[in-house]
Amino acid sequence: MMTRREFVRGGIAAFTFGFAAPEFLSDLARAQDTARRNLVVLYLSGGNDALSMIVPYNDPQYRERRPVLAIPAANVLQIGTDRASTALGLNPRLTGLKSIFDAGRLAFIQRTGYANSSRSHFQGTDIWSTANPQVPQGAGWLGRYLDTIPSPADPLVGWSTTRDVPRLLLADRVGVAAIPSVAGYALASPNPGVDAQFARQAATRIASHVPVDMPHLAFVNASAQQAFATLDRVAQVGFYRPAAAYPNNGFGQALQAVAGAMAAGVGTRVFFVQTGGYDTHAGQNTNQANGSYPQLMGTLNDGLLAFYTDLVRQGLFKDTMILQFSEFGRRINENASAGTDHGAASVMMVIGGDVRGGIYGTAANLAPTPDNPTLENNGNDIRYETDFRSVYARVIDNWLGGNSVQVLGGDFRAAAPPFV
């Protein structure tokens, strides 16, 4: 398998893209962003245990196969039944998401995945990022989308709130900014005043060098150029005053920065946010108040509720879509460590002002018989029902206004659930 390192090296010659002059950027951003729509991709890293998030609480097999981890029916937040009449309830910590669901702006798409699901975190993440289960290499699906927007791209068109630019945002022609902290995204200098200005001018000039015979150097210079071209606009985001209180954790603060960027109109179309800890091999402890899975759900719920509340109050929710994924779901049977091992299909969530909320797809039949068509791996794992690429296709076509056939390299539109 090609690693990200190898990919970027192979694709590095492409990093000779030029940045538009900063004074024109806001015009450019406006021109490219006529609809003002944005997409926030949310990655739950580690492989989310869908069965603990959207619970088939009346299924006796669920209880049978998870004697410790099954969440009692009395504790779940009931959200009705899917079209196969499986009664579903949200994890008890998801009270905020329940309210967004009740407002009709949250869609769950059950059993999303692909055939022969990878159980490797890294290969699985690459597959979800490239939308290519056969050859999960090269640019990411959203990077390829960014490559289709008019050139030159605004250097803030994509914003990763993580320290890395994730593969799903790696593009051939467009550089995505990695800004994990707005406050930290400011230049320091050993000397104050006018000498600091001289230093910034010199550093900008050094970084402007794009040696064609040294693409590795050109690439690092491009990262510096991108910083110089975006620092001043990002600084505005630091003045943002949210209309809701965000949790004081990495996830909450990342979402606050995203809301601030939207409110400041910096021109970003695609944001990436990640929250981790979902690789719950041990001590998942779904039924303990401070257990690891309840804590994951608490972080997720509290951050998303603040974000939703803030955006609604700022009048920005109508232009926003949040798309959540994870690299795989988890084994149906719990293990001896009160945890679950790597599985197959999981659940996706879509939240947004234009989203048709509800429950899409059907829950698995958890009976562990080898011929059960909703399971795989001898009845141990949940088999996918909705190809994740059809969800991406719907987002590209119906939200971003792109061309999913071109971006995904195939036509996945027919199977797409109509969540937007």
Binding site: A188, A203, A207, V220, N221, N335
Partner: protein, 484 residues
Amino acid sequence: MAPRDVLIEHLLRRAGFGASPAVIEAYADMGYATALDALINYESIFDDVDTKIGRPGYVLITARAGFAPTTNITDARQRWLFRMVHTERPLQEKMALFWHNHFATAFGKIAGAVGATEATRTLAAKPSEDAAGVKGQLEVFREFATGNFRDLLIAMARDPAMLIWLDGRTNVKARPQENFARELMELFTMGVGTFPEADVYAGARVFTGWNLARVGGNGAAGSFVFNYNANQHDTTAKEFSFPIYRNGGRTIPSRAGAAGMQDGLDLIDAVASHPATGPRLARKLYAFFVNEVDPPDQALIADLARIYYASRFEIKPMLVRLFTADAFTSSASFYKRYSWPAEFVARALHEVGWAGFSVNDALTPMVTMGQQLFEPPDVAGWDLGPAWFTSGSMVARMNFAAQLATNQKFELRDQAKPVVKSPESLVSWAMDRLTAASFPSDGYNALLDYARAGANWTGSDTQLATKASGVAHLIAGSAHYQFV
């Protein structure tokens, strides 16, 4: 100042973390072959670097309520950075970092399981300093730094930090835990795509009973130790898709619980011997030490793999081959490795200066650069190469250069004063001191224009302090400097 020995500088950036001008000169005086011998055969060099912590003349550490690197993770990070700067066995420290990335184990999960103090002990304790003689994972990496890879795999399979990190401690016969077996094959040895899922399930059963025990109670005198729990070992036969034994046999036979630990040793020997492991390790070492920019020298990689198998998994002969290869010594490989944040920080401390600087003040910047020691992002380690570089991490690197240059302003002034007579000589002096790659003409002119900007050149103390720190900041914060 003696003329630069660029090959020795290159060797010290790769086999170590760069070096101060005085140390570079000492190695240069030895000549390449002797210098290399001193770096590789470091066992004869007395290791007393930790005794220098807190003494004058060395980079500072920040002691809060006492300095406790065996029980406080922040202090463990400080001590490791101190060692990167001041060790007289730089290759050992460099390989320890390599193995830390290869067997990437993160403090956060372990602390969540057993608390921060115990987590620090399992990762960073030195036996001589620990009440129960705990040898932390980092000390295992140092012990096996250039040693036998199979033995290191066995040590990792029994390492308390690893047993917590990849859940081996809960691997029992009723419900085998797959985490360690999967990563043993996918990340530590053969690589993804070389085995089917069924091998993971069989591997998990192999390691059933490889658990953890607490001995000596819960206090400082107690410790976590590897415990083979024969009653929890799956005694049935395990079949694999690849040969386990030299006769080609693919099945680990059924063994009684008491003898069942041999299953794991057999599997580790098999994955170490697997035809994908040697080339994979060779590619990884090549990218780490030789060149990760240009197309790799496939003949050298094949030869490294051959040495790996011929020596029965010894790392040192691979390193000897690698550091004497034309692909390494050629100037075409100079500055062709994207520096890791730890390397960038340690090199900058060597080259810009450390007097009065505390490594504690590098810890937060390193988080922003994307590398917090003892906290790799996941079991695959850090994303290397260009993946270190984003707009955000580049701001962090530029700002660390500014922070350090600010701190060293008066040291730089005093060192520049005897030799610097003009803006031109200031730039040349700083380029030499920072073992910098040559800048293209426009970049060089940008440095020079910066040195000239403002008041006319007088060479006054004030002007030297400003411009020497300013030029050091610009060089260390440039893209050129991000390569080692």
